[in-house]
Subunit: 284 residues, 2 copies
């Protein structure tokens, strides 16, 4: 990609919420590992589309030939942080045939009658697919902690259940990419006001948004705990600065590229006699 400004460091390394990570110290305005400006980022996103597309097609092709590899992108964030934009502009560049987006809202009565991971398991991507969770099982240790819907014992049980669940997925060949889009409190206010000022965006606005915003600090504490308890070797958390939408998009795109790259994909070998088929096709 001559002329395109790329990341100068490995994104999975610099954005990983490893031991000692402090959300409080992470700057939502920053662009770690990237020296370009907005126009560079926009160009990079477009330039990498093709690579992401080919890798995803290879994953899909392997899936058709019996591989159990798959990718699961988990998106968590405060309202307006840009989950939708990631789905549209990063995930959206892949072939819809091989992508499955699962949004998680407040659970239904049927879902509530089961353990919290029940609905998650049902939404997992099939072999060969890139699955995207727009919110996830992490709501059960985030909003539930913030509003006291689960006590400390239950929350501890859930962290442990999540780690076990994700370890199992990883063992079965799922590359898990957990992303928290990190916006600042001020940036959220700006974006909420922008939604209110644009009638074509009113449908995205909920009066619940301001109610949850009032618990901002509790949410940040709950996220910090999530990183401490569930950022594991096989399924680490990445905290992506998201005040600059263009940066969040290239960062998540790069995380997906890295995850797909690590799956060691290749085009499946033909399970038929190519030259015999060719001879028959010519005659057909």
């Amino acid at each position: 990609m001559a002329g395109t400004k790329e990341f100068t460091k490995q994104v999975s390394t610099i954005l990983k919420a490893g031991p000692g990570f402090s959300l409080d110290a992470a700057d939502p305005e920053s662009t770690p590992g990237y020296k370009g400006k907005k126009s560079d980022g926009v160009a990079l996103l477009a330039a990498q589309d093709g690579r992401l597309d080919v890798l995803q097609e290879m994953l899909f092709a392997e899936g058709k030939f019996g591989s159990s590899k798959r990718v699961l992108l988990i998106l968590q964030a405060m309202d307006t942080a840009g989950k939708g934009g990631i789905v549209e502009h990063v995930v959206g560049s892949m072939d819809p045939q091989g992508v499955k987006v699962a949004p998680f809202k407040a659970p239904t009565d049927e879902e509530k009658a089961h353990d919290f991971l029940w609905r998650i398991e049902r939404a997992l991507p099939a072999a060969g697919f890139v699955g995207v969770f727009d919110r996830s099982h992490y709501e059960d240790v985030l909003i539930h902690r913030v509003h006291g819907w689960a006590n400390e014992d239950e929350l501890e049980r859930r962290y442990a259940a999540i780690n076990e669940f994700e370890a199992g997925l990883a063992e079965q060949g799922t590359a898990i990419v957990k992303v928290m889009l990190n916006i600042s409190r001020d940036e959220q206010k700006t974006r909420l006001l922008a939604r209110l000022d644009d009638p074509s965006k009113h449908w995205k606005y909920s009066t619940g948004d301001l109610k949850e915003r009032a618990f901002w600090d509790s949410y940040m504490e709950a996220y910090q705990l999530v990183f401490e308890k569930t950022s594991t070797e096989v399924a680490p958390w990445y905290v992506v600065p998201a005040n600059k939408k263009w940066f969040a998009r290239i960062a998540v795109q790069e995380l997906l590229l890295e995850a797909l790259g690590k799956l060691d994909l290749s085009w499946p070998k033909a399970d038929f006699d190519v030259s015999a088929e060719r001879a028959m096709a010519v005659q057909s």
Copy 2:
């Protein structure tokens, strides 16, 4: 779209398989209603992306606010005709959050234990969604007729069941767009050979492809009957010349734009007090 060559006629009118339509007389090489060449078509596809995207977002927004409108694109064709390319390049330009692609393969044992429309009903798009069927219930009157897996009485029952089913969908607010991608026998041979000559495409090739190709004429007769029996007022068939991939893509894009246009979409009105919310947001 200054400088972009557009269709000179309404695509839904010129490509409709209405009374008297003859598949035999339809030219897979033609570009009806379009005077541009390949580069113009490629430019048009890109130029219309944004419009398609906005209409689909409006459909999705209305769905969130209780509307039952939705779109169902049904794709049928001989192998290699370009269904996958339509999904990737036309459907793929829309937001994956609001799109549901359902591929139909040979039915499973569970599916076979039910009537042929059972698995179709389960795959219908939710309100606000654009659903895409990659093959469909029409296989039950195409491959089943060609190979004699259903007798004439049963096939007649199925045509009638399909018409009733689709009329019900239309009445509930589903805009149905049924597309047959029409390639020539020679073009299929060229494309099968191209797949055989490219190892990155072997995974798309099946030895079943040549077996079905041997029944070409029977398939064309079965398609002709499908158009005669199931091209209805509320769910007409469109036969899209598909030897030129670029043309098939702009034609299907235009059919989707027309279908969405007819749904009379608009941004949902806020169901909350915008100025009161704004005042609270400023203070928050």
